[in-house]
Amino acid sequence: MKNIFYRLGAAALLSTAFLFSGCEPEFEEDITLSKGPLDFSKYVSVGNSLTAGYQDNGLYLEGQVFSYPNILANQFSFVGGGQFVQPLFTQAQANGSGYLRLGGFSSTGAPILAPVTTNLAVRTDVAPLPGGRRLTKFTGAIQNWGVPGISVLASAVPQYGGVNPYFERLLSDAEVGQVSYVQKVVATQPTFFSLWLGNNDVLGYATAGGVVDPANPFGGITPTATFNAIYSQLAAGLSRNKAAKGIVATIPDVRSVPFFTTVGPTFKAGLPAAVPAVVALTKSAANRTVIAKNDIRVGSTGSALFTLTSTAYLGLLGQPTGRYWRDQAKAKYPSDAAAMDQELKRLLQNYQLDTTKMFGLSAENPLPSALVLDAEEQAEIQAATTEYNNIIKNVAAANDLAVFDAFTFFNSIQTPYSMNGVTYSPAFITGNLFSLDGVHPTPRGYAIIANEMIKAINAKYGSSVPTIDVTQFRAVLIP
């Protein structure tokens, strides 16, 4: 028997020799990547907050790293793309402008958003700009020119560097207020570029609920002719008579983002039967508009949209309160009680308010315009968006550029869909696509956008740039 076991052992040993020989499953076709006619050696991205990687109501290092231009540049690197320099915040100032994080949920399941206020890149050694506190500078030969807040209108204005801290941080002191954004980006002379600008020519107006601050020259809807002139000049400057190829993106329907779609349905459902309608201010003046309960948009019915920021005040419906106006005055003059009082009086008089009346139900104490986007305001935004998008597509055709139709894309994701076992929808927090500000995507959302752009580039130019595995990017972090 001993002999048998010896032989058995030898046979087993012989068998295992096979295990160590190569036995990799191989695919029949090799992966073919190709840049086609494109030259990715110097890619430059031009755009606003979306291009910067802004999310969760702030710009911070993680968002910059997961910006769609950085993802694009990474994918371009497989087909001859060069280095891509972003104006990253340092590790020590990783939280950049500060942002919102999800701290938890209230007993009713409402998300509790907490501001992140440590490790900021905010400068305290200099006076703030009209657009906010200044940020630590990053000057030099950068390639991601995403500037949160910038519009087509603002991009042509040399003084804008003295207004917007995100633009100011990218400029030398000598350039601030002297050089326009268009001049800066055209001077980079890219071999390939992406251009996604124009959202803020309507979005600022939209997110402010149709209110234009008279002190902000960029708060309204940009006239179409102005948009056309600047956008055409910008695209032509980047293209250099088709020497550089690139991709432009259209402007999404602002009504497709959770910032406008989250609050209304809940608010409508919670309205008592005795309340058939609410009253609100409309646009920037003292005009009132009545919004019937059935006018509140739920899904694709109704029209009136309530902003995500309205949640803080809608609970006060029916109460004699002027809290919104006090908060506005306080935000403007945080440390000057007298000036604050003065401002409050001005607001009450300007909008002819009596805050002893029922908030939102009485015409004397209507809902503030900034919390509601009513049908009339939306019509203006719609009209402008359509016109801008036509301009963008025409400019793309004239300069032989690919188009990422963000308008169509963001409308297509209104219907929840599933990919690799993950459900995506425009739902706030749970939809995986939008970050905590309800307007800007999550890193996952940005990766999905980058893939859509790659597909548009490949379709236009016949290149084979690979897409990226979007599941490697996070959605909202859940405590």
Partner: protein
């Protein structure tokens, strides 16, 4: 942060293995038969007839005991749909399907008793928790052990019948990621773990009209493996609101091990040479869906179900053995196995496709009483691309190969 990003972009190294036959069937029930493309229903080769054809058992001249084991070494490669190009491939822990058969009975009696313990179904698939399809599956381990007491009766020199009762025991462990990331960037997940059992039977007829020709027909019934009160373990972000969405702690499930009907032909043109041909029909249509019933809500549902809708398939097997000398026999064979998985239903548990197997084997007679078997089987499944639109699986292209060496020992008394 930058480096983390780049690390994420590198193609993940993943680990995977697969059961060697269509679906999760593992046709590795006798070392001699493996060497002949797993054909042998129409032959009375050895004690493994307890599995292959209980009707042939009583035609064996001697009683004996047989032990065998295979080392299943399989790999799957995955490539995401174009224009994506992420791939995942690598090793998998080797699984070891085994078989033990013993027969008893008086030498002159037409009656034989036998017992078989074998592992006809199983799967070990480990994709890891980084790959693209991790919300479908990280890891699946399915084990079954069939215990089959058997009785075989030799009606005449030409005809034998046999029947076995099957008690099956096993376990299932399934792990998948949940698309929720906590503040420390840990991804949520769930593990289902339970033991299963079931019953069935195995019937066979063996007919040997001439010295040179023999036929066999067997029916192995479906065995419904039932899991009762298996454990559900969630790994979740700590927020109570999230925990409230995932309250299940136990699950029930039922997985069908499909019925098989096999017709086998044996042909012996000379004393030393034997040919075997089997046609095996596997009634995979029993596998309609994978359903888990929970004892409490998971995202508001008390069950989850994803369609499988497997279809019945045929497996074609051919094999030959040649007795070189009294102590040395060699074998070779091949088979073709149609995939039961229909278009649109591919899943990462069984990224199955039509497969081709080639095998070889040998027997060394060490003494009158002791034989040593060795076999080697190579399986190559066709590359398959599927959008997985109907099964909620993972879209992409899969390719599997397996190398399966095996050894067995026979002791005759």
């Amino acid at each position: 942060m930058k480096s983390k990003f780049l690390a994420l972009l590198g193609s993940a190294v993943l680990s995977a293995g697969v059961a060697q036959a269509g679906g999760f069937q593992a046709n590795l029930q006798g070392q001699k038969q493996i060497g002949m493309g797993h054909a042998g229903t129409g032959l009375a080769l050895d004690q493994s007839s307890i599995f292959f054809n209980p009707g042939a058992l009583a035609h064996l001249r001697q009683n004996g005991i047989q032990l065998g084991v295979s080392a299943l070494n399989a790999k799957i490669a995955y490539r995401e749909p174009s224009p994506g190009f992420s791939e995942s491939t690598t090793d998998n822990p080797i699984s070891t399907p085994f078989q033990v058969y013993a027969s008893f009975g008086k030498e002159e009696s037409p009656l034989r008793f036998g017992i078989g313990v074998y592992t006809p179904f199983g799967s070990s698939v480990n994709w890891g928790n980084q790959w693209q399809g991790r919300y479908g599956l990280n890891e699946l381990t399915l084990k079954t052990i069939f215990i089959q007491p058997t009785i075989s009766y030799r009606i005449s020199e030409k005809l034998g019948v046999g029947a076995g009762f099957v008690y099956s025991t096993g376990s299932v462990n399934l792990q998948r990621s949940i698309p929720l990331t906590d503040a420390s960037y840990n991804e949520a997940g769930v593990e289902l773990d339970g033991s299963a059992s079931g019953f069935g039977f195995n019937l066979g007829v063996f007919f040997q009209p001439t010295e040179k020709l023999s036929l066999g027909l067997t029916y192995r019934s479906k065995v419904e493996m039932e899991v009762k009160d298996g454990d559900v373990t969630f790994m979740l972000p700590t927020s109570p609101l999230v925990a409230g969405q995932f309250q299940a702690t136990q699950f029930d499930a039922s997985l069908p091990m499909p019925a098989n009907i096999t017709l086998g032909i044996g042909f012996k043109p000379t004393e030393a040479l034997t040919f075997a041909v089997d046609v095996q029909r596997v009634e995979w249509s029993a596998y309609k869906s994978l359903r888990f019933d929970y004892n409490a809500g998971v995202r508001g549902e008390t069950f989850s179900e994803s369609p499988r809708n497997y279809e019945d398939v045929f497996i074609y097997r051919v094999g030959a053995q040649y007795k070189v000398s009294d102590i040395f026999t060699v074998r070779a064979g091949a088979y073709y196995d149609n995939s039961p998985v229909q278009e649109g239903y591919l899943t990462p548990e069984t990224p199955d496709s039509d497969s081709r197997g080639v095998s070889g084997g040998l027997t060394l007679a060490l003494s009158d009483k002791v034989d040593l078997d060795a076999s080697f089987l190579y399986i190559n499944k066709k590359e398959r691309t599927d959008d997985a639109s109907k099964s909620g699986g993972v879209a992409g292209t899969f390719k599997s190969v397996a190398y399966i060496p095996g050894v067995g020992i026979n002791y005759k008394f």
